[in-house]
Symmetry: C2
Subunit: 115 residues, 2 copies
């Protein structure tokens, strides 16, 4: 392959736990939207995702993390809502940091991409 075309390396990063995939960019976006909107319902709307799906992802995250990432508030004024725990905030930060480092490394590897 001569080099009139340009190729570049893409990378998808996620965190696994004994039972399988635990935290990837999709769940991170969900966490961020929960932080932004204060509820799973509105986070889901924001992302044009079904509430049911969003709720399940939150369940999954919470069960598989050491400590819940999302605190859910039932009933009360405004019906309740959801907010990130400290662990949730930390998870976002850690994920992005690691993802950034890996993507930067991958970018450097692009120069080895000679067919």
């Amino acid at each position: 392959m001569p080099e009139n075309k340009k190729y570049n390396i893409e990378v998808r990063v996620w965190i696994e736990e004994t039972e399988g995939a635990f935290l990837g960019i999709g769940k991170i976006w969900l966490l961020e939207n929960i932080r932004k909107t204060g509820s799973i319902t509105n986070a889901a709307k924001e992302m044009k995702m079904a509430y049911r799906q969003a709720w399940q992802l939150v369940e999954e995250m919470n069960q598989r993390a050491e400590k819940p990432l999302v605190e859910k508030l039932l009933g009360g004024k405004g019906g309740g809502g959801a907010k990130l725990t400290e662990a949730g905030e930390k998870a976002i930060a850690v994920f992005y940091e690691i993802e950034k480092r890996i993507k930067e490394f991958a970018q450097k590897e692009t120069q080895n991409l000679k067919f």
Copy 2:
């Protein structure tokens, strides 16, 4: 999150071209099976994949690479077949090399995985 659970980082690597994803581990496996079996038909069987799908993947690869990765032989003794071109062989080697480096780097990052 304290640390009784163990988490680890996973990474998926692929190569993009202007029109989108061009070459990932799935197509690499297909290439390897074509090399091994000498035809798209048998490579597909090996992978329990539909011939049609395998054929389409080969088309896509060939069109988006600078030079075809797979040479297809039509008719003749045994009906024809398919074999890797030099570019195809190179693609496998380059892909694995880059993937290996990125995965090793990602592995090192696991130690930064403190929640």
